[in-house]
Point group: C2
Chain length 578, copies 2
C-alpha cells in the first residue's frame, strides 16, 4: 500500500529501479540534442513573453528537474512554449506595469499561480476537467494563436515598434509603424526566415542525397535554428550590426538563477489569477495530448492527475528561480522521443545542459539579433496553423464547426483569453442545447427480429393503439418538459391510443426534475385511461426509481424488453376484447 | 398563414372570437375578487421592493392590460410578486443611490430591461432556456427567498430600522437595532400576524360550520388580508397611531399613473442589466410553472415563447407607467382560477378595478400601518418555504440534493443573485461531470431472448474472446477519453480478447472529439489484431459517421443488432478455426 502510494506520487521511483548504463547513454544523447534545440527556443520564447533572455534559460533548468521527479510521461520535454509565452505577454501586458522589475515579478507570480492551481487540481484528482476542452476548441485556439504569435514577431523582423494581442490591434500597430523599418534588421530577419523555411522543406532530402543516415539528417534538420543563430551572431559581430540599429539580445547575466521569492502583491495575485488558470489549463491540455500520443507509441501510459502534479511543481520551481510559465512542448518532446530518450532522466540531463550554457554561452548570445529569434518563432508556430479542421467539422457536424469557428474567430479578434473562454462556453452550450431537445423516435418491430427501430428509417410493424417512443437522451431538467410536450402532441394527433411505452435504452439518468414531469404525465394519462409503460430501463436508473413512489403509482408496467412490452399489451387487449 | 401568425402573436384574437355574456360574467366576478386581493398585495410588495405604495398600484394596471393582449395563459394573474420585489430591493439597494427619485428611476429601468430581455427571448423563440433552471434549483431558491423575505419584514413588525439581503446581514442588523422597538407598532404587527395565521388555519372551517358554502368560505378566507387592512386602518384612525411612532403608508397621490419615460442613465442601465436578467428568468419560470399547472387542469396549453412576449410587454408597460418588475403570481393566479376566470379579459377587468381603487381609496390607505402589510407578506411567503425537497432529493439522487442544498445555502448566505447563479452553475456542472464519467456496462445475452443486459445484474451468456460494451451516454468531448481508458483497461486485463463490440443503444451523438478517439482506438486495435465493431447505431449517428472515413477504416463491421453481432462473430471464428 505504502509502496504503491509512493510510486503513484513519485513515478521516478518506478523507472529508477530499472535504470542502467544502456538507458543512461540513451538519455544522455537525447539530452544533448534537446539542449541544443532548447537554447535558442528558450531565448525566443522569453522574447515572445516580453521578459529578458536569461529568464527563458532559467525557466529551462529547475522546472525540468522537478518534472523529472514528479511527471508521469517518460518523454515529455518541459520548458517555455509558444502559446503559454504569448498568453504570458498578453495577460501581463494588460496590467500596464511601468518597470521591467514589476513585469518580471508578474511573470513569476503567473508561474506560481499556474503551478499552485495545477498542483491543487492534481491532488484533488481533477484531471478529468481537461476533457472539457473539446478537440474543436483546442484546434481552433492553436491555429489562431499561431497566427497571432507569427504576426507579433513581424516587428522584430522589420525592426519596428508594434504591439497588440489580437489581429486588429497587431495589424493597425504594424501599419502605423511601417515608416520606420530598419534595413539591416530586415536583411537579417529575411535571411533567417528563408534559411529556416528552406531547411524545413529541403535540408533533410539534401542531406540524405549526400548519403547521411536518416537519423542524423533528421537531427541536423531539427538543429537548423542553432545554425541560423551561429551564422547571424557571426554576421552581427563582423558587420557591427548593433551600431546600425539592429536589436540584439544584449547583455545576459552569466551564472545560474538564484532562489527568488516572487513577493506577495495582492493586486498582481488578483489580476493574474484568471490568466494563470487559463494558461495552466491550455498548457496542461497541450502537454497531455503530446504525452498521450508519445506514450501510446511505446505502449506506455500517462496518469492525468500525476501530470497535473508534475507540471504544477515545475511551474512553482519556475516561479522560485526567476522564470515564467512552462509546460510540455510539442516539437521539443517529439525530438526528445525520436532522439531515443527512455526516461524522464533525459529532462534532468537537459537541465544540466542548459545550466552549462547559461554559465558559458551568454557572452556570445548577447550578440544574437532578435530578428533571428523572431524568425525561429515564426517558422515554428506556422507549423501549428491548420485550417483543415474547419472543413472536417463542417462536413461532420455543424455543432463542432461552430465550436472551431467561434474559438478561432474570437481568439483572432479579441485575444487568447476571451477566445478560449468563448470556445469552451460555446461547446458546452451547444452540447446542452442539443441534449435539451432530444431526438425522440417512434419505434416498431422489424418483423421477426424482436428488434425495434425508428418507424421513419426502417420497415417495421406497429399497432394503432400502442405507441412506443424511444427517447435518445437521458431525462434531466433541461429536456423533461420537451418530452412532455412531445407525448401530448402525439396524444392530440391520434385519439385511438390506449398505451404509451417509453423505451428507455438511451435513458441513462432520470433526475428529480424529469421524475416530477413523468409523475405528472402519468397522472394525466391515468385520467384519460391511457396506460403508461416503461421498457428496457437500465439498472442504475431502476435503482433510483425504486426509491420513490413512481413505480407504485405507475398506470402501467415496467418491462424488461420492448418486445415483451408490445406483445403482453397486445395480448391483454385481445383478452379484454373477447 | 397570416391568420395563424396573428393568432400566434396575439392569442387574444382566439378567445375574443368566442367571447359571450356567460364568459363576461365569469371574468367580471373573478376580477372583483382578484382586485380585492391585489390592493393590499400591491401595497405590500411595493413596501418590500422599497418603492412608494402607489408604485405597487401602478404596476397592477397597465401591465395587466398588456398581458391580456399578448399572454397565452387564460388564467395567469400578473402583477408585483414577492420574489421579484425582493430581488428589486436587493439589486437597487446595492447601488447606494441617494434620493427617492433615483431609486424610482432605477426600479423603472429594471422593469424596462426585464421587459426588453423577455421580449427579445420570446421573439427569438428562446423559451427553452427556462428549462435550464432545474426543479431542485427553483425549489431551493424559492424556499430560501421566502425565509429572507419574511425576515426582511420583521423590522416593520417591530418598528425598527434594519436592512440586508442575506441571512447574516439581516440577523445582525435586526439584533443591532433591537433596542428601539416601537410598542404600538409591535401590537399592530402581532395582531395582524395572529389574525392572518388564524384565518389561514381555521377561518374556512369556521365559516363552513356556520353553513356558508365551500366557494364563499374559501373566498372570504382569501380576503382575510383585506379584513386585516380594514381593521388596522380603523385602529390607526381611532388611536391616532401615527402620532405614537407607528409607520403608516402615508400620503398616496390619487389618480392614474401618467406616462413616464424611465430616462437613459448609462450607469443604471449597465449596473442593472444582470439583475434584470435574473429577475426576468426567475419571474418567467415561476410564471410558466403556475401557468402550466392551471392550464393542464382545464386541458389548455400555454406557449412558452408567447409567455415571454406577454410578460415582456407587461414589464415594458410597467416601466412606462411608473411601476417596477412584474410577473405572474402564484396565489393570485390560483384565486383567479378558482373564482372562475375564463379568459385573460379577467386581467383587463382587474386592471380597471385597481385603477378605480387608485382613484378613490388612496385617502383611506394612507392611514394603513406598514406593520399590517409586513404581516401580509410574512404569512404569504412562509407558505413558499418547503424543506421537504431536501429529504426527497437526498433519497432520490445525491446530485439533485447538492443542487437544492447549494442554491438554498448560497441564497441564504449571499443573497438571491449569487444563490440562483450558483444553483444553475452547480446543476449544469454536476450534469456534465456525470456525463463525463459514463456508466459502461459489459453485456451478455439473456439466454434465448436475443436480449443483452449488464453481466453484473443479469444471468447472461458471454464468450471469452468477444467483449460487448454498452456505453450509457452519448460520446462527446468530455467523456471520449474515459471510454478509451476503459477499453484499454479491459484489454490489459484479458489477453484472449479477439473482438470488441461497442453496443450503441445509448449513444445519441458522437462528436468530432469522440470520433478522433474512436479512430485512434481503432488504429491501435488493428495493430493488435483485435476486431472493433459497432452494433445498434442509431440513424442520426450513422448519418454523421457516413460522412467520414471512419467506417471505411473500421477494423470490423457495423451490425444492426447486438444479437447479430455476437452470433456472426462467433460463427466467423468457428469457421476460421475449422
Amino acid at each position: 500500500m505504502t509502496k504503491s502510494l509512493v510510486s503513484t506520487f513519485l513515478p521516478c521511483v518506478d523507472w529508477l529501479k530499472t535504470y542502467n548504463t544502456r538507458t543512461l547513454s540513451d538519455d544522455l544523447l537525447a539530452a544533448v540534442i534537446v539542449t541544443i534545440m532548447l537554447v535558442p527556443q528558450s531565448l525566443a520564447y522569453a522574447l515572445l513573453a516580453g521578459v529578458p533572455a536569461e529568464v527563458g534559460l532559467y525557466a529551462s533548468i529547475l522546472p525540468l528537474v522537478l518534472y523529472t521527479v514528479f511527471g508521469s510521461s517518460r518523454t515529455l520535454a518541459v520548458g517555455p512554449v509558444a502559446v503559454a509565452s504569448l498568453m504570458t505577454a498578453s495577460s501581463i501586458g494588460a496590467l500596464g506595469l511601468q518597470t521591467q522589475a514589476e513585469y518580471l515579478q508578474a511573470a513569476m507570480i503567473l508561474a506560481l499561480l499556474s503551478g499552485l492551481f495545477l498542483l491543487v487540481l492534481g491532488i484533488l484528482r481533477f484531471g478529468f476537467l481537461a476533457n472539457f476542452l473539446s478537440h474543436p476548441v483546442v484546434s481552433g485556439f492553436i491555429t489562431a494563436s499561431g497566427i497571432i504569435i507569427a504576426l507579433s514577431q513581424v516587428r522584430h523582423i522589420l525592426g519596428i515598434q508594434a504591439d497588440g494581442d489580437s489581429l486588429p490591434h497587431l495589424l493597425t500597430s504594424l501599419a502605423a509603424n511601417m515608416g520606420s523599418i530598419n534595413g539591416p534588421t530586415l536583411w537579417v530577419g529575411l535571411f533567417a526566415l528563408c534559411f529556416l523555411f528552406a531547411s524545413r522543406l529541403w535540408l533533410k532530402t539534401l542531406l540524405l542525397k549526400f548519403g547521411i543516415t536518416e537519423f542524423v539528417a533528421s537531427l541536423i534538420t531539427k538543429a537548423a535554428p542553432v545554425i541560423a543563430v551561429l551564422i547571424t551572431i557571426f554576421w552581427a559581430t563582423l558587420a557591427e550590426l548593433g551600431e546600425q540599429g539592429v536589436a540584439l539580445v544584449g547583455e545576459i547575466p552569466a551564472g545560474l538563477p538564484v532562489f527568488a521569492f516572487p513577493g506577495f502583491d495582492l493586486f498582481l495575485f488578483r489580476e493574474l489569477l484568471i490568466p494563470a488558470i487559463l494558461i495552466s489549463v491550455i498548457g496542461y491540455v497541450e502537454s497531455v495530448s503530446v504525452g498521450k500520443t508519445l506514450a501510446a507509441k511505446r505502449r506506455q501510459k500517462i496518469n492525468q492527475n500525476q501530470e497535473l502534479i508534475g507540471l504544477g511543481t515545475a511551474n512553482i520551481a519556475s516561479a522560485f528561480s526567476g522564470g515564467f510559465p512552462v509546460t510540455g512542448g510539442f516539437s521539443r518532446s517529439v525530438v526528445n522521443f525520436d532522439a531515443g530518450a527512455q526516461t524522464p532522466a533525459a529532462g534532468f540531463f537537459t537541465a544540466i545542459g542548459i545550466a552549462i550554457a547559461t554559465m558559458t554561452l551568454t557572452e556570445y548570445l548577447a550578440l544574437l539579433p532578435k530578428a533571428t529569434l523572431a524568425a525561429t518563432i515564426i517558422v515554428a508556430v506556422l507549423g501549428l496553423v491548420d485550417f483543415s479542421i474547419l472543413k472536417k467539422t463542417w462536413n461532420y457536424s455543424k455543432n463542432d464547426f461552430i465550436g472551431v469557428a467561434a474559438t478561432l474567430v474570437m481568439t483572432l479578434l479579441a485575444g487568447v483569453e476571451i477566445g478560449v473562454s468563448v470556445g469552451v462556453a460555446a461547446s458546452l452550450i451547444l452540447h446542452l442545447y442539443k441534449s435539451s431537445r432530444p431526438h425522440i423516435a417512434e419505434v416498431g418491430e422489424i418483423k421477426g427480429t424482436k428488434h425495434f427501430r425508428n418507424i421513419k428509417r426502417h420497415k417495421v410493424e406497429t399497432s394503432p393503439d400502442v405507441v412506443s417512443l424511444r427517447v435518445d437522451e437521458s431525462l434531466y431538467f433541461a429536456n423533461a418538459s420537451y418530452l412532455e410536450d412531445e407525448i401530448f402532441r402525439i396524444l392530440g394527433e391520434r385519439k385511438q391510443i390506449r398505451h404509451i411505452i417509453l423505451m428507455c435504452t438511451a435513458v441513462n439518468e432520470i433526475d428529480i426534475s424529469a421524475l416530477e414531469v413523468l409523475e405528472s404525465v402519468n397522472e394525466i394519462l391515468r385520467q384519460e385511461g391511457i396506460g403508461f409503460h416503461l421498457s428496457e430501463v437500465k439498472g442504475p436508473v431502476m435503482d433510483c426509481l425504486e426509491n420513490t413512489h413512481f413505480l407504485a403509482n405507475l398506470n402501467g408496467q415496467v418491462f424488461l424488453s420492448q418486445y415483451q412490452a408490445v406483445h403482453s399489451l397486445q395480448m391483454e387487449d385481445t383478452l379484454l376484447s373477447l
